[in-house]
Symmetry: C2
């Protein structure tokens, strides 16, 4: 790890009204300027061409004068930073954090309130934040609005979902900015709780592509003690501005100086791969706060879960609650001691780390949709789930149990029980918990993406760290790199996961080609890939739902969707029937020395190769959207001079996500770094390859 | 304990539109009637004269049809109930619960929603509640408003405080109903957080007296999973209606059938003593839910507390936070190990049960007024408070430590730490905790008196019961008898306590003569009496504040203000200086076999005698308002044939709360049940008497 830190300029107050800073590669330039009546503004250029036109920044305060004008510059400072750091688990063993920084120290003339704007300019983009130093004139304050502008030059194509305060589980829309309109969406999409504030509000990260092929992504990093930022669009002029998620009484954030806003990020590149491969969001977060990270381990797991999604068993003991929530007759309860032992046996036999059991605890008979406060107590097993017996059996088989805490959105209730819930986990040696937040939030009036909930999700991670427990949150606000600081926050769902394919319109084949440009920028996603029985008609002839994929695309997702926590989501028997394909899931690594983004185009395709942490083996995943695709891949990422056995899992010739999704072939070839491989992907298909060094 | 239970009438649907029921003594009559368009109404008479004119009842629902009209009667039932039960701690060893009950089963014509109105008619008043049975047509529902009317006949004199959603710490106003107007109040009264919704909103309990001398009190009992009910007044026609306290988004209550509202109570008597002596509120609560009550004990305590109120020491270690919150210079921290040991020594020497220490834990440097969320963690002692050493010392001296949890209104934070806080208490053998809720509530937007907070206060009592811990809440919503169900909820402040006398306009001499008619009806109050150094100029010559009392009135309060948890609030040295008067505080009991309300007039005077639980000793307390008072008391409550040594602590001849408050005399006489005692009370004065049987 090395630091280079040099101060370039320090200007005296009042002498300066504009300042610029470039990225290390000089491709990106950020220009700061005071305009109009002392308003803070910036522009951003890429290769000399404007990307962000003059955009102003400001914070509105409750019961205080807005911090959006009348500023004068006290000083300005440019520094260079160059570091590399080692994530506990990650896409690379060493992450480079290199940028030039511009700090503008401001004072508002009338109020004497001081505020700094800090810009960091990376090779793949710009970040800025508001910084409120400790001062006499500003101690506690309430943000009623943030007005950060991102004024684009033209009508980009955007990959967008509505700026819903409560859900990020949407299918992406691919339209021009000028065509964005939430009122035209079909909202019969399986999402339980929706709070869309307006027609032109979209979520960040917002991935865009200009008509000339420039890729721009607006997002944020280090959302800590602050609400999520969505974006409001002016469809007429392509001006975007920040939309903070409010609390129950319309306030946005409660802060005390010294404090900072999250980083607002604008990634810019003419190569889409730079966006997918960026570690900028992680870099903008604080270093690891956990001293003993020994318990934070890559975790591959199976679990009692998909069987409820396909309607084979239920979460509740009384046998009515499968994922359809309209189960006609009584079905078997999934989380029995006996069924759990079957999963433990399977995990042990196939080298999996863990077994998740959902529906193990009382409360599922009436858990959803009624804004109910006392739903679960997180400590009382159903009568047919003997937690002590299960724990002993898992220990005997050297498998870890993964806890499940569905909160039903009743966060107040969860926090009241959290210590007891974690105590139970420690008692029975559960090292990780999957949490869920399906439903309207309690405290009532709060949204999933407000400051209260952001704080809750981060609090749970910190509290879990007290117990050396790993967290995997579902239906949480989407991560913005906090897993750098609390790497026990090992994964989150926080986007439309694979489960929607089982009982809703599902996720189109392009979905997983967009997520690496959006959701995955903030941290690992528990997407739950690995579905081998792709059509739900297998379980119930009347069902038309299916996963929008071929079988080998499900394999490729283990590589394209980075997560150190990965589920093999399908039923055990479906894996046993296709042991040859299942071999890839058994083999694939979860933690990496290096990652190469080989190909990427949002909405179309992604091809990624990764080197196993501490080993010579590599894995490659390639996926496509609804279109078939051919591609020649150079294997020059492999170690020179080393021979590898490459096992290629690919779509059969006639495979097709819709008509023939489960046709695949497996072939083995010997390759070196000089080899090339021709990828042939079916419509909605994918290829997965493991490269094992030949000794 | 005996039950008499007989069904008088069951009518078939539609046959009946009116029904009446009388109290056991037949003094009070309750009449139910369907009026207008199927509206539920009632009237109440006392000795044949109307007290409540036709008043309608109804519940408004969010997103559902209001339950306020179009009802038909399905059936009606009258039953008689007669029971006596033993409170764990109480004013009497056996409490009689005797009433006639009328249940009206209703169905709304259009919606088929069923609702019952249950009336209980006691000799001292009427109670009714809404009862929502489990039914197909009503499961989860949200109450947007309750419209229960209490239409009075005339312009009563009222003892009222504003219907503040956040505070009950007001001085009572004594005006006619027609003169009620919150906008005319002087709100420079020391209350930190105020939320007064309108000019004519007043709190319940509302104590009133008619021009002809009828006493009427409107209150509620068993407020569980429901907000507090205040009252809106129409000053023109003396109609009162329910004002439920809203939550952050304006909703009142979230309920699921089967469920009930709290009881709405109307106490009526021509003898004011019946109101003070009523156990109706307790009777309307559910029986004790705690199996092992052995840890619930009367607790007399001293503590590090008043010294912060008088500005002698501070809550915070850095020495800035005394009760003035504007301490000019650095003062000593109160909660040191050494100072605590001094209190332990004193408690041990004088037979006290416990020692309270406030300011023992980190966070007090910045604890108030900023809606701060993470204020205290309830587990980290200041460096100068060695909790282990203190606990060991207390154990050695056979004294119990009393914990202190100030939440600063940040309830979300408290709930996150509650198990840890209680764990710490058990570790160090603290059997009781005083909790505080000074400040605006977090979750933000909630009020102290909303459903969320009512649930919080009750939740803390239940959670404490898990640990066998007693709770004494300050700045909570006022109790409505939940201590019958959870007797470990041993006391609460929840009204303007003695502390206000130290640093604000304080409490006028009449204050303690009103509380037995209002706040005390719902349960014990930790008023913290026993101040011997009455004028704050003793500590700081510039101070004009004082307790509005004579010294012996402070003694009398131990009898007139029932609580099984009582503080001797003054500094130890002030007691040591007046050991003769202090003897009464040492002697007085906290738990009683019997209670006699000898004299009572709201705003003027109260005289109460109580017999010690399980012993032959009695104690008498008599207090007056700003007027001197003489009274002859018959001692016929004493056991016939038994001789007693009566020690009389009374105001000296020239005593006066303002000019000469600390002048007292003590005399001893021998008395029997045939004796009389002449009470002579100074302006703002009082008399305390202990009766010890002579063997």
């Amino acid at each position: 790890m090395k630091y280079l830190f040099s101060i370039f300029f320090v200007f005296a107050a009042g002498l300066l009204h504009a300042q610029s800073v470039q990225s290390p590669s000089k491709k990106i330039e950020l220009n700061f300027k005071l305009v109009g009546n002392g308003q803070v503004s910036y522009t951003a250029n890429y290769n000399g061409k404007p990307v962000i036109l003059e955009s102003t920044l400001g914070i509105k305060l409750k019961e205080k004068q807005a911090l959006d004008a009348n500023f004068e510059i006290l000083s300005s400072k440019v520094t260079t930073f160059n570091e590399s750091w080692k994530p506990v688990l990650g896409q690379k063993a060493n992450i480079l954090n290199q940028y030039n920084e511009l700090t503008i120290s401001l004072k508002q003339k009338e109020t004497n309130v001081k505020m700094n704007i800090i810009f960091k300019v990376y090779d793949e983009g710009v970040a800025f934040r508001y910084d409120f130093p400790q001062q006499e004139n500003l101690n506690y304050f309430i943000i009623s609005d943030e007005v950060s502008q991102f004024n684009l030059t033209e009508d980009y194509k955007a990959f967008w979902i509505p700026g819903d305060f409560d859900s990020n589980e949407y299918v992406y829309n691919e339209t021009k900015l000028s065509e964005i309109d939430n009122s035209k969406l079909d909202l019969n999409n399986g999402i339980g709780v929706k709070s869309i504030p307006s027609k032109y509000a979209v979520q960040s990260p917002l991935m865009m592509k200009s008509p000339t092929g420039l890729y721009v992504n607006i997002f944020e990093a280090a959302v800590v003690n602050y609400p999520v930022m969505h974006l409001n669009l002016n469809v007429a002029n392509f001006k975007l501005s920040s939309q903070l998620v409010p609390n129950a009484i319309g306030d946005k954030a409660y802060l005390q100086t010294p404090c900072v806003s999250p980083w607002r990020t604008i990634m810019i590149s003419d190569d889409a791969r730079d966006i997918v491969g960026s570690q900028m969001i992680l870099n903008l977060n604080e270093p690891c706060e956990i001293e003993d990270v020994s318990y934070i381990k890559p975790t591959k797991y199976v679990g009692i879960w998909w069987e409820m999604h396909v309607g084979k068993s239920t979460w509740d003991l009384s046998g009515t609650q499968d994922a359809s929530q309209k189960s006609a007759g009584k079905k078997p309860h999934g989380a029995t001691t006996e069924n759990t032992k079957r999963y433990i046996d399977f995990a042990a036999k196939n080298g999996f780390d863990g077994v998740l059991v959902e529906g193990w605890n009382t409360g599922w008979e009436d858990w959803f949709g009624n804004w109910k406060e006392e739903v679960f107590d997180f400590t009382t097993p159903y009568a047919d789930f003997n937690i002590a017996e299960v724990a002993a059996y898992a220990k005997e088989k050297n498998v870890k149990m993964i806890m499940h805490h569905e909160t039903s959105g009743s966060v107040a209730n969860y926090e009241r029980h959290l210590d007891r819930a974690f105590d139970l986990m420690k008692k029975y040696d559960y090292p990780a918990v999957k949490s869920g937040y399906v439903g309207k939030i309690i405290p009532r009036g709060e949204f999933h993406d407000g400051q209260t909930m952001v704080n809750h999700f981060n609090f749970v991670a910190r509290r879990a760290a007290d117990y050396k427990i790993m967290i995997n949150s579902h239906e949480s606000s989407r991560p913005t790199g906090y897993s750098r600081t609390y790497p026990n926050y090992i994964a989150a769902e926080a986007a439309r996961g694979n489960e929607f394919n089982a009982w809703s319109v599902g996720n189109p084949p392009s979905h997983e080609t967009i997520l690496p440009f959006t959701r995955l920028l903030g941290g690992p996603m528990d997407y739950t890939p690995g579905i081998f029985e792709i059509k739900m008609s297998y379980y119930d002839k009347s069902k038309k739902e299916q996963v929008h994929t071929t079988l080998t695309k499900q394999l490729a997702l283990y590589v394209t969707m980075y997560s150190p926590l990965q589920m093999a989501a399908d039923l055990l028997e479906n894996y046993e029937k296709r042991a040859d394909a299942f071999q890839f899931i058994k083999d694939v690594a979860l933690d990496w020395d290096d990652t190469k983004i080989l190909e990427a185009e949002p909405g179309d395709y992604v091809t990624i190769a990764r080197k196993t942490k501490g080993k010579e083996s590599w894995f490659l995943g390639a996926i496509t959207d609804e279109n078939a695709r051919k591609s020649e891949i150079k294997l020059d990422f492999l170690t020179k001079g080393q021979k590898y056995k490459a096992i290629i899992y690919e779509d059969a010739k006639d495979a097709d996500w819709k008509n023939n999704p489960m046709a695949y072939k497996i072939k083995t070839v010997e390759v070196t770094s000089k080899s090339k491989i021709n990828l042939v992907l079916a419509p909605g298909g994918g290829t997965a390859i493991s490269f094992e060094p030949i000794k």
